[in-house]
Amino acid sequence: MSSLHAVPPEDDEYYGQHYEPWLFQTMLDELSASELGIGFIYSVLDLLAQRYELSDAVVVLVHESFGTQSFRLGRRSLTPEMTENFASAGVYCEPDVVPDVERDAVRTACQLALSLHLARFSAAQDPLTKIANRRAFDTALQASAVRSARYGWAFTLVLCDLNDFKAVNDVSGHAFGDDILRQFGFALRLSVRQGDTAARIGGDEFAVILSNAEGNESSGFIERLRAHLEKVGVEIDFTFGIAASPSDSTDPAELFRIADGRLYEKKGIKH
């Protein structure tokens, strides 16, 4: 794989200031090595600290979704007293020795990293429940099905539907209904293991992909979910349908159809 290289300007000047190619090159190396996100911001602060022997460094960014955000060297928190000193966007260093051109470059790169991380996160997340959205779920199901077909890796698809949710909305209002959905999503997140995918795929429809799990192992997940719902205080029941791969199918659409059919069967509705 080819790597990126910073090309220094011919006259060694960048907007009238001395140009330091080390920063641009190391930032590009960092970019090539990882996805652009919050981790990149801390990496760049580390780079600055090493280069200039800084004892402390803070980058303050202003983002339209986040407001003012401060990132401090070593992932340390600021004290409330310090926030007063770092109220406006910029790069603050101790000792104050970093050239302006490098501060500007760091701030711009960090702003980009934060924006891209948020965009990536938002694109895959349901804004109400903070679990995966339909698009992320479809991608995860496709990937799981391909692995299952190719290597025989087992996984279980669980579809959940809240019972009488329409009545909740009609009687108690949509704000209350949103609360129920939010809490159900939270209970789902508590119930899945690392590597599993929990998603909201419709109004009151949720889906879970249990990795490395045969169909009968899903009972553990259902028990955990019921326990967490009780803990969270959600007074609504749900119906679920299950399909297992590769035993039921390795085709994602077929798996979905099977799980959906079993869910409606339990609800007593002809599908």
Partner: protein
């Protein structure tokens, strides 16, 4: 969704009013604690939500929240400061012009004699224009070479005593440095609000 530390931090930063997130680790590398600094939000509510999020990613991590808006600003209760609004040098007639602001009013001062002396003199004139009775005269304004640049040192002397007031400042221009150094020299005097009126 991958429960990575980066996503965890991003979720915490998405909470309303969060200014900064600090994460501490155990020797094993696991997340040990999370500290949020927030502004203008209910600490207890944010802590509840943050604890819920933490329980998803790192169930054993402790969560603490501090409210930056409870901190009394360092300059609270202090008298208003004299601020340098602008300092210009007219190369044609060699005159420095300094404008200062104090409690919403501005004062203007002009002086010749180059950017160092002129900047300091113009600043003293601008202070008098603002109503300050400044009992000092300019003794010296020099720039000195240091490894970190060329700061300007201003010395003021009181006619009634031999006590000198010294100020030092460094900026991109000598004129601005001289003006700031003059204000620096008068720092304690100005903070006592020594005015004519």
């Amino acid at each position: 969704m991958s429960p990575t530390e980066e996503d965890f931090e991003l979720e915490l930063r998405s909470l309303p009013g969060v200014l900064n997130v600090g994460i501490s680790h155990r020797e094993s590398g696991d997340v040990d604690g999370v500290k949020l600094v927030i502004h203008g939000q209910d600490c207890a509510a944010i802590k509840t939500i943050a604890s819920q999020i933490a329980s998803l990613y790192y169930p054993d991590a402790t969560v603490s929240v501090e409210d930056a808006s409870q901190v009394v600003p360092a300059n609270a209760g202090a008298s208003p400061r004299v601020a340098l609004v602008r300092a210009d040098f007219n190369a044609e007639d060699g005159v420095c012009e300094v404008q200062l602001a104090y409690e919403g009013r501005t004062g203007l001062g002009r002086a010749g004699s180059g950017q160092l002396f002129g900047g300091a003199e113009a600043t003293l004139t601008a202070l008098r224009d603002l109503g300050f009775d400044v009992p000092y005269y300019l003794l010296a304004a020099v720039s000195v070479a240091t490894v970190r640049g060329w700061p300007v040192i201003v010395t003021l002397r009181s006619p009634s005593s031999d006590r000198d007031m010294l100020g030092i400042a460094q900026s991109e221009r000598d004129l601005v440095s001289a003006s700031m150094a003059t204000l620096d020299a008068l720092n304690r005097f100005l903070s006592n609000g020594q005015k004519n009126d």
